[in-house]
């Protein structure tokens, strides 16, 4: 090596990643850092119903509609004609794309065992058809779905294999980015070992049913010459098509804004060094049943809407109608914000899907609504659908995502009993920037409510327990005599102070 070689610090050297082709599939382009390898074939494999064909078709349709890259679909499926109507339900109008020359479809039929074979042959006919289709519309993208069907129709495996090898090499010379689908095989990624021929990128799709709950997952098994996320990522197939969740970002690189947002309760803001929460931070509100967690969340939402911010509220216990009604009883009417489009509710039964699907759904809803404030009530209900480890992993992903988007999030956590506060919440509390604990105590024949800030990163916060009341004008802090007042008081029930380790 020449002694004149300039030494470039590693982190400053330009990334020599291969050129890529965006798929336009939400999340997928993020985990692959830009999509599929450009002008190369990618293998997408998975079992029946895992979403291979849909992923491949979305790649084509997005190419035509978003990136001005026409595409060719060479399909070997026996019921290919039905496909057009199937994907129509996802908003794909294949007919129109074909008419506009943005898509060319060739249905390849292989008559099983009907063909007499005598002597040497090759698959040049397939090449001719593919080349013709590519040329006819100037295609930049190609999908072969599912080429393994050839093995059922033709008997000479040796010829097939050498021809497939030739096909994939040929594809690279056509200037097209190709997706080849393959059926998951025993001990192999695909039945016919296509991964042996397509070595640039391999994506594995999986559809599992665990505890009667179905979850789809996607993994980039291989991506030559590129960094990529290696985790299994949950993905969703819904009315909007396919979306993948880049659930854990590569590193902790969130901005740490200095801007503050009000909790909606003046006194609580005072307790948080006078200015409320940091924007983009995550707040845990924990307490036993009936301690006012939801009320606190609703104050937060109401205040944000008053500032004109967009708010998203995930409910895992009540319906939006119930919440709206109940909160009117403490004098907070959220209905106008809903009408104005500033506030959106998203209510789901936790048991309806697996954790990943919840995560994926929340991700999608956040991406669609683009809120600046989010409330999840109660986040603990999700624990019923997974182990604490899974829940923690999922919350890490959600919080990660919310922080990246600079969304301030408040999560309510239902604590089953007084003594369990720390234990239950410890799985998620480390992820939280601010932790507010609510507690009830019957003292002297009176039900008293208390609130304290257990932690709040990056600010000098109050360490005292403050009593409050839920009035028909919302949550009001009380002083010692029980009158509404802005000052702190000495109400410290013995049991709560012990639990909190104060």
């Amino acid at each position: 090596m020449s002694c004149h070689t300039r030494r470039v610090p590693l982190e400053l050297s330009p990334r020599r990643e291969l050129p890529k082709t965006l798929t336009g599939i939400r999340g997928f382009d993020e985990i692959t850092r830009g999509g599929l390898p450009k002008d190369r074939p990618t293998l997408v494999c998975g079992g029946p119903g895992s979403g291979k064909t849909l992923l491949a078709l979305t790649f084509l349709v997005n190419g035509a509609l978003q990136f001005d890259e026409p595409g060719v679909l060479l399909t070997f499926e026996e019921n290919a004609e039905e496909m057009a109507s199937d994907v129509a339900s996802l908003g794909f109008d294949l007919r129109t794309l074909i008419d506009k020359k943005q898509l060319a479809v060739d249905y390849v039929r292989v008559e099983r065992g009907e063909i007499e074979e005598t002597g040497e042959y090759d698959l040049e006919g397939l090449f001719v058809r593919l080349a013709f289709a590519i040329r006819s519309i100037g295609a930049k993208r190609v999908v072969l779905d599912t080429i393994e069907s050839l093995f059922a129709g033709l008997k000479n495996d040796a010829i097939l294999r050498s021809e497939l090898r030739r096909l994939f090499t040929w594809l690279k010379q056509q200037g097209v980015t190709a997706v080849i689908t393959g059926e998951r095989g025993d001990g192999l990624l695909t039945r016919q070992g296509l991964e042996e021929y397509i070595s640039d990128a391999v994506v594995l799709l999986d559809h599992r049913v665990y505890d009667q709950v179905s979850t789809r997952r996607l993994r980039v098994v291989k991506y030559r010459g590129s960094y990529h996320g290696t985790n299994e990522y949950p993905f969703l197939i819904n009315a909007d098509g396919i979306s993948v969740l880049p659930v854990s970002s590569m590193a902790l690189q969130h901005d740490a804004p200095l801007e503050r947002v009000s909790s909606g309760i003046d006194h609580l803001d005072t307790m948080l060094s006078g200015q409320g929460f940091y924007r983009g931070s995550t707040i845990l509100v924990s307490g036993t049943a009936g301690t006012g967690k939801t009320s606190l969340g609703v104050h937060f939402l109401d205040a944000a809407c008053r500032r004109g911010e967009r708010c998203l509220c995930f409910l895992f216990e009540e319906s939006p109608q119930q919440l709206l009604r109940n909160m009117r009883s403490i004098g907070i009417d959220l209905e106008p914000w809903v009408t104005a489009g500033l506030l959106q509710f998203h209510a789901d039964r936790p048991s309806r899907y697996g954790l990943e699907t919840h995560l994926a759904t929340m991700h999608t809803v956040v991406a669609d609504f683009k809120p600046t404030v989010t409330v999840i009530d109660p986040v603990t209900n999700l624990m019923t659908v997974g182990t604490s480890g899974d829940v923690q992993a999922m919350l890490t992903r959600i919080i990660d995502h919310l922080k990246t988007e600079n969304i301030t999030a408040m999560m309510a956590s239902l604590t089953p009993g007084h003594n369990a506060i720390e234990r239950i919440d410890s799985t998620i509390s480390s992820l939280m920037d601010t932790w507010i604990v609510l507690a009830n105590e019957a003292v002297g024949g009176r039900h008293r409510r208390g609130l304290y800030v257990l932690k709040s990163r990056g600010m000098a916060h109050s360490n005292e327990l403050h009593e409050f009341a839920l009035t028909d004008h919302g949550l009001r802090m009380l002083h010692r005599t029980g009158e509404p007042d802005g000052r702190s008081n000495q109400y410290i029930p013995e049991r709560v102070s012990r639990d909190a380790g104060v």
Partner: protein, 106 residues
């Protein structure tokens, strides 16, 4: 592989004309061999009652889709119906005859 159960599926009359199409892509050794083999078989077994149309997909690639051509060379028997396909260089005369329904599968 279908098992032959005795009589041919349908009797073919002696006067029946065979309309054959041979799909190739250029003058490859396989395609030249296939055409030569086909001519010889036809002369021997279908003298005077066959037509051979050679389709070069290099010149007319759009024709590949219609007859569902994948492998080359492919011989298509368009008449008598049903349509039959034989792929390869037709070097095994016995199999070509079976494929054309000119001989019962042994």
């Amino acid at each position: 592989m279908p098992v032959f159960d005795g009589a041919p599926a349908r009797p073919i009359s002696v006067e029946q004309t065979y309309e054959l199409r041979l799909y190739v892509a250029g003058q490859t050794p396989k395609s030249v061999l296939a055409l030569a083999n086909l001519r010889q078989i036809c002369e021997q077994h279908l003298h005077g009652r066959y037509t051979i149309e050679v389709i070069d997909l290099i010149a007319t690639p759009q024709l590949a889709q219609g007859d569902q051509i994948l492998a080359l060379p492919t011989l298509v028997r368009r008449l008598p119906e049903p349509i039959k396909k034989i792929i390869g260089d037709l070097s095994n005369t016995e199999r070509v005859l079976v494929g054309l329904d000119l001989r019962v599968r042994a």
